[in-house]
């Protein structure tokens, strides 16, 4: 026995090696995986219409001001009634994709009615993601994203938002990032309140979304021309259109402008 009182209660150095003093230098903050977003996706825009919802997002993964990855799919279908659109950090988006895959698998397991009553509903997918987002923020280890879950549930359109802070909200029109500043004013001219939803047809809603994607390509410096759009319709089901391009642009507006004031030539 070691009679030195200062060695009592401690594992012996011979057996366990020298005492690791690093624990006394523990950092003030808990482990944070993402402290700043690196590769990012820009806006996700969405709106309800009389027979479903539409959601769209471009195919760009920016690396700061470098438009680095041009084949990023930011709309994730879950089952045949839900689409999850994600903006923000791409690595965290890929983690969420894994979580959703796991969710689908778990739901499938030992489930005879998985195609009918026990299919994953948008509200289930949303509640799960919202819980994950808030819990991660409470551990000071956020998933640096803004997510919109769109779908059809019990024949009614579902549209809800959750972000890295765990904040959630719902509206007939939703958008993340730049879309909130540029696209929402346009979408709200069509669907301003709940009562306007039943007056809006698929054609009008689709054109509004396409128009908004055009304006975003004009004015968001971190956006791309290529994008994807998903329509979840009551009758037609889930339609995911990939490889769409912004069309009918006008770049001729300044052909007669010279200089920035007094210049004439």
């Amino acid at each position: 026995m070691n009679h030195d009182p200062f060695s009592w209660g401690r594992p012996s150095d011979e057996t366990y090696g020298a005492y690791d003093t690093k624990i006394a230098q523990a950092p003030a903050f808990p482990k944070m995986n993402t402290t700043q977003p690196i590769v990012t996706g820009t806006s996700v825009i969405s709106m309800k219409y009389n027979n479903g919802v539409i959601i769209a997002a471009d195919n760009l993964g920016s690396y700061g001001s470098l438009l680095r990855f041009t084949n990023v799919e930011r709309l994730i279908p879950v089952g045949n009634s839900t689409v999850v659109g994600i903006s923000g950090d791409i690595s965290d988006m890929q983690h969420i994709e894994d979580l959703l895959e796991e969710m689908k698998t778990e739901n499938n397991y030992d489930n005879s009615y998985v195609d009918d009553e026990e299919a994953l509903k948008p509200s289930y997918v949303f509640e799960y993601l919202a819980t994950v987002m808030y819990n991660r923020r409470s551990k000071m280890n956020p998933l640096w994203n803004a997510i919109i879950v769109a779908g059809m549930e019990d024949k009614k359109p579902f549209l809800r938002y959750v972000n890295l802070l765990g904040v959630t909200y719902s509206s007939p029109t939703l958008a993340t990032g730049f879309g909130a500043h540029l696209a929402l004013p346009l979408m709200r001219r069509v669907v301003d309140r709940e009562d306007d939803i039943e007056k809006t047809t698929l054609e009008v809603a689709e054109n509004t979304i396409l128009e908004s994607m055009k304006i975003l390509y004009y004015r968001d410096a971190r956006s791309s021309r290529k994008f994807s759009m998903a329509i979840i319709d009551n009758d037609q089901g889930l339609i995911l259109k990939k490889g769409l391009q912004v069309e009918n642009m006008s770049w001729e507006f300044a052909k007669n402008i010279r200089g920035y004031g007094t210049q004439k030539v």
Partner: protein, 261 residues
């Protein structure tokens, strides 16, 4: 033009390093737009003036007159937009009298940008300058640091993105006056509804070639307060009269006088 003075540079560097916050540029709540049309140009603005989160003036006037046919919409620090517009407006009037010519938009633009550049952005004036002069209709913008831009449709202020979304969606070459007014007013409305820094009413000023400028104050009022539910007038007799005394302060003499025109 006096040279730039860097006397305070060392002091400012010292202050920032000592963590006293660098004064941040504040984009004051506003939505302003300018739109060119066939035969003229128009500007429009909302009417909300804010002090932080508080609405200071529900119906302020953001459209300023530089000269009878050159008008200016101002976003940024209200005192700065007001003062710089009045200063340049005054100088333009003197210049116009001295040159015996109608003032030109590019003159006002040059005077504004040279003044604002001198103050290196500390005068927080973000302006859309528009007007008609012997050279034709013009639409331009000036930023607080002194840069200028030319365009057929422009928007500035915190509500500029909401307004620009509407302008990008519906502007095209060869708009008529009425189409342009409708487009500009809709663009301002986008700012009023979707931007918290903008609100209340829409002001418009139309400057057409060969005509006087038409200042349409409160062109649209989509935020009228609902009528008060009751009349809160006090009925006669609410305040009891205890004593009444009439004192003759002076003698009154009446005299009829005939006035010849």
């Amino acid at each position: 033009m006096a040279g730039l003075s860097f006397d305070n540079y060392q002091r400012n560097q010292f202050l920032t390093s000592k963590n006293s916050a660098q004064p941040k540029a504040t984009s004051t709540g506003t939505t302003i737009v300018g739109v060119k049309f066939e035969g003229g140009v128009l500007i429009a603005a909302d009417t909300r003036s804010t002090q932080g989160p508080i609405v200071a003036d529900k119906n302020c006037a953001k459209l300023h007159r530089i000269s009878p046919r050159i008008w200016c919409a101002g976003a940024g620090t209200a005192a700065d937009t007001e003062a710089v517009t009045a200063l340049i407006g005054s100088n333009i009037e003197l210049h116009s009298l001295s040159t015996r010519r109608q003032p030109r938009v590019v003159t006002a633009l040059q005077m504004l940008k040279q003044h604002l550049f001198e103050y290196q952005g500390h005068i927080g004036a973000y302006l859309i300058v528009a007007g008609v002069d012997p050279t034709g209709p013009h639409l331009m913008s000036v930023q607080a640091h002194g840069s200028t831009d030319v365009g057929y449709y422009l928007s500035l202020g915190s509500g500029s993105l909401a307004a620009m979304a509407v302008l990008e969606s519906r502007w095209r070459e060869g708009l008529t006056k009425d189409e342009a007014v409708s487009l500009a007013a809709d663009a301002i409305e986008a700012g009023i509804w979707n931007d918290l820094g903008s609100g209340s009413n829409v002001d418009v000023c139309v400057m057409e070639v060969g005509k006087d400028a038409a200042y349409l104050r409160n062109y649209r009022t989509p935020n009228v307060r609902e009528p008060k539910q009751q009349s809160y007038k006090f009925a006669r007799g609410t305040t009891a009269v205890l004593k009444e005394s009439i004192i003759n302060v002076c003698d009154i003499e009446e005299q009829e006088v005939e006035i010849q025109a």
